[in-house]
Amino acid sequence: MPLIETNGLRLNAVELGDGRPVVMLHGLLVGSSASWYFTSAPTLARGHRVLLVDLRGHGRSDRPREGYDSRTMARDVVGVLDAMGFGGPIALVGHSYGALVALRLALEWPERVEKLALVEAPLPPSRLPDLQAFFALDRSKMAEALPQVTRQFLDRRGRQADKLLHTLAELSFETSLLEDVRREPDPPDAELARVRDPLLVYGEQSSCREVGERLARVMPGARLVVLPGGHNLHLDSTAALTASLEGWLRG
């Protein structure tokens, strides 16, 4: 698929399947459209038109120096939806910071979102567990704060490790990403309460788990599902997460 020009940059999106539209957003740094492509997306694509967006700075999208706040990234996604003909309301799924982008999109463009699923949404955003560890590390230690599957690549020290470290270093040191995440405001409960009937999925061992409980209290009609695993639930609990998302899409 050709890159999509929007918001002054070129963004990549991957489309699979046919049916009612589902849009899936990945987490920061090690995330990309591949995060969902190799986990839940193929199953959901059996009955849906699934769109995986590479957020700015990630996957095959451009990597600008700025604009990693959730509002700008949500506007990027809306631009992609417009360009791809996703005009009507969508089912929107986000993991980690991608969930915060999804949440922002649902708050600013409520008419575009029919239903919302937040997987491991971290609040306040600056408490994002991976990033918190990241802030404290020097460059050589960054690898240790990454998911297991990512570390396997790094341990082999080949091309995949080089590319990954290059991406991490560029995003961390040559863009405003970390600063933007630190500055990202914590949405007040009154604002969160505008989101109705979301699916909230959190990991049993995740340091974000209490956030799920807060959102479940504040968002009317929310359904909170806790699955075995940590922050990277799409890797830790792939089948169970996919099944939760399938149930949510049917409901």
Binding site: S33, Y37, F38, R46, Q160
Partner: protein, 93 residues
Amino acid sequence: MTAAAREEILKEVARLIREVVGEAWIEEAEIGLDTSFSEDLELESIEFVALGEKLQSRYGGGVDFVGWLSGKELDEILALRVGNLVELIAQCP
């Protein structure tokens, strides 16, 4: 399917891999049925996604790459070899 037809598919898959990677080393790299995407070629996950898209547009709906992936665990995907893809394409009508 004949060995010659399989050979044709292998050549085509190898061509698409070289297109996706787009770096000098891959032109020289040997790509055979036993070549592993992750271990040998060290493809990035996002390159493997791009390869999936290219396969889909090259072979169309007849090759259900995404449906095929939906039956696989992540470690099976990481262990995939070029021959697995050639087999998938060869079996499709």
